[in-house]
């Protein structure tokens, strides 16, 4: 039993890490993040529910990526750029992204309705058994997907563009003087971050269904990003897994409504006692 709790916790946690990567990308370039990221995860799920039955599961992916990219551009121009350009409203992006998230959720409920939609997995429904631990093929697919993206992101951070990201995060103006188009890089990070959230919604919806519940993934992943460290992919993976396991334990021991509580409390403790994140310093792979 405990083995099952840990393994499926880690599998859920990988998904949190995937969304957390998006927070890390935008935090790296502009020290900002989209507090309404959950709405994009929800969009990923709902678009899958609409498109997958007619055109197939894979066909939903490009549509989601394009839709999220467009929304990422909107978030950047509506919520982030005005705040970055005006030092007097330096933190107004927080409220602005929350507001954008609320609008996006409202719009989705108007368009798609409020019901949870279920989606068939393209893989077999029969779990693979390893001893007394069961893993759904779809869960295995998610794990592979997340690990691939992690690998690609790591490669990216070590590339020339990754260095440009790093430069913009240290000092936007100095980077601009070096000929790095800082505002475009920030825009790019928001597009990438939004696409990652959409992919997460696409990946998870066959297991969880699509609807407002996916929205909660945004804040849980934010917790994973903070707990792990906003500057380390490995930290986000570990923290995501930790939160996933804690959640499963809480669901096992407490009434189901408390499920989300451990992630939140862990996050609050980390912000209070170790704001750099649990795995902040231990990693070589600094962004």
């Amino acid at each position: 039993m405990i083995g099952q709790i840990i393994v499926s916790g880690i599998l859920t946690g990988l998904l949190y890490a995937l969304i957390a990567f998006g927070f890390q990308l935008t935090y790296a370039t502009s020290k900002t993040a989209n507090f309404g990221q959950g709405s994009l995860v929800m969009l990923g799920g709902l678009l899958t529910a609409i498109i997958a039955p007619k055109f197939g599961y894979i066909a939903a992916l490009p549509v989601i990526m394009i839709a999220c990219a467009v929304l990422g551009v909107m978030i950047n121009y509506l919520c982030i750029r005005p705040s970055l350009r005006n030092t007097e409203s330096a933190n107004s992006w927080i409220v602005a992204t929350i507001a954008f998230g609320i609008i996006l959720i409202g719009a989705q409920e108007m368009i798609f309705g409020k019901n949870e939609l279920s989606i068939a997995t393209p893989f077999s429904e029969d779990p693979l058994s390893f001893g007394n631990i069961n893993i759904l093929p779809h869960e295995g697919f998610i794990a592979l997907l997340v690990l691939t993206i992690t690998f690609l992101l790591d490669r990216f951070y070590h590339s020339r563009w990754g260095k440009a990201f790093e430069a913009v995060s240290y000092d936007r103006y100095a980077a601009q003087l070096q000929g790095i188009p800082a505002e475009k890089i920030i825009l790019g990070s928001y597009i990438a971050s939004s696409i990652l959230a959409g992919i997460a919604g696409w990946a998870v919806s066959p297991i969880t269904g699509a609807g407002i519940t996916l929205e909660m993934l945004g804040i849980k992943s934010f917790c994973a990003a903070v707990v792990g460290s906003l500057s380390s992919t490995r930290g986000a993976l570990l923290a995501g897994a930790l939160i996933g396991v804690l959640e499963n334990l809480a669901a096992f021991l407490l009434p189901s409504g408390f499920r989300a509580l451990p992630a939140l409390i862990l996050c609050a403790l980390v912000i209070t006692f170790r704001p750099t994140g649990l795995f902040g310093k231990a990693t070589i792979n600094k962004v």
């Binding site: 020290k31 900002t32 507090f35 509506l78 919520c79 005005p82 409203s89 933190n91 107004s92 927080i94 409220v95 602005a96 929350i98 507001a99 954008f100 998230g101 609320i102 609008i103 959720i105 409202g106 719009a107 409920e109 108007m110 804040i219 934010f222 917790c223 903070v226 009434p255 409504g257 408390f258 989300a260 509580l261 939140l264 409390i265 996050c267 609050a268 912000i271 209070t272 006692f273 170790r274 704001p275």
Partner: protein
């Protein structure tokens, strides 16, 4: 006392008259409303929200933190009242203050991330706190009743069965009291300290204001108001369910504050009205709610950052009327008692400051005697500003000992060093832009005010304020800024701002004054005035550490010059000795 009436007109008139009129109009509702029961309920809710918003305004508007979890504090108040009256049989009038206090404690808990994290993380912390609280409210069924809710027993106070009418008037009375308290608090030294730390936190810290403690204080006080409002909400509605204290409610509170206008009582009343009337007006298009709410928040953030209040005329034309005091008994500069002591007031022994592998200061030993001027020279990057930042506790040295007045200052906080008698000015000006010139000086005089919020709220603080106020005028005369006393500090010229910083630093009664390039950007008559001022400061027994590039100023004023290069002390002694020293010449001109 004419003085007192003058001191209490700092608020724009619009913020005294209009809220007063609105509240009187609301109190007369049985006479003008055709559906008094319904109107009474609306006014009741409006007053409750307004009380909670006053608390949020302290946190967001004055202290400049961001709280996305205010509904949690509101909820703590409501559930405390609910549980106390229902399960412990407390009467409502007793449960209310307990609710406020518990919510104040919750506010303190919510503010803990302030100790280590930056303001973005603190905002995230409030969001996480709010979400956790709403999960607990929703799931801890045995205490909170969860989504089904709690039904409170009806209240009977002194034989009187309380109805909506009574609650409406109770809420209005509590609202008036709350506004009164907030007005007093925000016009006091404490309110000034809040605004100062919002505009320039490091400078506020150097005035002896413990910034984090003050921010935490704003959360506690904000919690008190939210808790009172929550308790009143529970009593008057007779029923509470977890949906009233969710994330959406926190967002509503923020929306109300931002849309109405921060730092304004009228703004809060308008904001509360919007949050109450908006759902009523939009009841036929429920599904549009999130989009409209979100749109309004975006609008309030970027299009109308001052809120509705900023659209009204006269908001900024009202002048803050301080009058100049008649007497000039107060000496501008306080004599320090250390003039007679012959030992060093400041002693650095082998102090080093290392950033990774780079030494910004290396094995620096220097001693400064009271009543002398120590000049610090050196090319850019010599470590001059690092030295000042270490002395004021902004950095902690990686090696070596510093003692001030024979006490080791290791790991003292900036505000503690300031209180001990180290004041400074800044190379890059750090004035409190949103305050007037006089108020800037008054922030420096923070230490001679009554800063206990309880005493301020009860009006026991005014006497000390008069002395501080007279002293501030003397300081303004000293630096020739008395004509600009009521001007916004941001409107002063560059040179005037430099003098303002010196006067503000003198207000802290320093024993050691650190001047970081005071003459930068000054010319002609200003330079002469600066020299006279610094000499007069020395005559009062204050030790001065003067960083300057004007060779003329540094050689005529300094008793002793310390020359730095690449973080090392390369020469020190009398001005003649140092400026002819070969190492100094080499540092500036090359060999």
């Amino acid at each position: 006392m004419t003085f007192k009436t003058k001191l209490t007109t700092w608020l724009p008139e619009i913020d005294i008259a209009f809220p007063g009129l609105l509240i009187i109009l609301a109190a007369l509702f049985p006479f003008w409303s055709s559906t008094p029961a319904y109107t009474g309920q609306i006014i009741l809710l409006g007053a409750i929200y307004a009380i909670a918003l006053l608390g949020l305004d302290l946190i967001v508007g004055y202290a400049g933190a961001l709280s996305i979890g205010h509904a949690a504090l509101f909820g703590v108040g409501a559930y405390t009242t609910g549980v106390l009256t229902l399960q412990a049989g407390f009467p409502g009038w007793l449960a209310l203050p307990i609710s406020a206090i518990l919510a104040g404690c919750a506010g303190w808990l919510m503010s803990l991330p302030l100790l280590k994290a930056n303001d973005k993380y603190v905002a995230l912390g409030t969001l996480v706190f709010g979400l956790s609280a709403s999960i607990i409210f929703n799931e801890w069924n045995s205490i909170t009743g969860g989504s089904i809710g709690l039904t409170l027993p009806p209240q009977r106070w002194a034989g009187l069965q309380l109805s909506t009418y009574h609650y409406t008037y109770l809420a209005l009375i509590l609202l008036v009291l709350s506004i009164k308290i907030i007005n007093t608090l925000t016009q006091s030294s404490l309110g000034r300290a809040f605004e100062a730390m919002r505009d320039a936190p490091i400078a506020a810290e150097c005035m002896g204001i413990h910034v984090n403690r003050h921010k935490q204080g704003s959360f506690v006080m904000g919690g008190l108001f939210a808790g009172l409002a929550g308790g009143l909400f529970a009593l008057s509605q007779g029923y509470i369910a977890s949906s009233s204290f969710s994330f959406e409610m926190s967002v509503n509170f923020l929306l109300a504050l931002m849309l109405g206008g921060k730092k304004s009582r009228l703004g809060i009343l308008l904001g509360a009205a919007v949050v109450i009337f908006l759902p009523l007006m939009l009841s036929s298009i429920m599904e549009w709610h999130p989009i409209i709410y979100g749109g309004l928040i975006l609008l309030a953030t970027y299009v109308l950052p001052g809120g509705i209040v900023s659209l009204l005329p006269h908001k900024y034309t009202s002048k803050k009327t301080y009058i100049a005091p008649v007497s000039h008994d107060q000496k501008a500069i306080h004599l320090t008692s250390h003039t007679t002591i012959d030992t060093s007031i400041l002693a650095l022994d082998n102090v080093s400051m290392r950033f990774d592998a780079f030494y910004a200061l290396k094995n620096v030993t220097l001693h400064i005697k009271p009543g002398t001027i120590a000049g610090i020279i050196g090319p850019n990057g010599a470590g001059k500003s690092t030295l000042i930042n270490i002395l004021t506790g902004i950095y902690t040295q990686t090696d070596g000992d510093i003692s001030f007045c024979d006490q080791s200052t290791h790991s003292w906080a900036t505000s503690k060093l300031a209180q001990a008698g180290i004041a400074r000015t800044f190379q890059n000006l750090q004035i409190f832009c949103g305050l007037s010139v006089l108020e800037n000086i008054l922030v420096g005089l923070h230490h001679c005010h009554e800063n206990n919020p309880l005493k301020i709220a009860t009006g026991l603080h005014t006497k000390k304020d008069f002395t501080a106020y007279e002293r501030a005028w003397s300081l303004l005369h000293l630096v020739n800024l008395h004509e600009y006393a009521h001007t916004l500090a941001s409107a002063l010229s560059y040179g005037q701002k430099r003098f303002l910083e010196i006067a503000r630093a003198l207000a802290c009664n320093p024993k050691l004054l650190l001047l970081d390039e005071p003459a930068a950007g000054m010319r002609g008559a200003d330079l002469e005035q600066l020299k006279v001022l610094i000499q007069s400061i020395r005559r009062h027994g204050i030790a001065v550490l003067l960083i300057e590039h004007h060779i003329d100023i540094i050689t005529t004023l300094s008793d002793h010059i310390f020359a730095f290069n690449f973080g090392e002390l390369i020469a020190h002694g009398s001005p003649e000795h140092v400026i002819t020293h070969h190492a100094v010449k080499e540092a500036y001109l090359g060999s």
